[in-house]
Symmetry: C2
Subunit: 83 residues, 2 copies
């Protein structure tokens, strides 16, 4: 088993209304120091260790998990997860 | 300025229907090796460097960004971001 951590973020320049809402809410709560907030997704997958896991994860991100038109993604693969 | 990265995940044991949907979609696409998928949130904040940024971020997570009843959060603070 491998544990895969995937980070999906909006590309720079893509409007992020959810991030804007978070920023404004933080200001309302008194955290005026927050200059910018951007919201993305974080996923953890447990994947059977057969074949090229990195290649599979790259494909999964490009085909389903992220929208490559407006989103960037990064991932890390951790070895030897036992369940 | 400091760049803060926040990772919000559902606590272990909390049902994750969104993760389940992702897992089933991956299976439908042929990625049968995926044993589990859990979906969380990832946020990036740019914060003015006045006072104890870590303390402020801890408060923001507990009060607004995460739901401490069902979610865990982690964050990292990176020094010296220039805009």
């Amino acid at each position: 088993m491998k544990k895969v951590k995937i980070y999906i973020t909006l590309k720079p320049g893509v409007l992020d209304p959810q991030g804007k809402a978070v920023q404004e809410s933080l200001h309302t709560l008194g955290y005026e120091a927050v200059q910018e907030a951007r919201v993305g997704k974080y996923m953890e997958l447990i994947v059977d260790d057969n074949g090229d896991v990195e290649k599979q994860v790259e494909d999964m991100c490009a085909k389903l998990l992220a929208n490559p038109v407006i989103e960037d993604y990064k991932y890390t693969v951790e070895e030897g997860v036992t369940q």
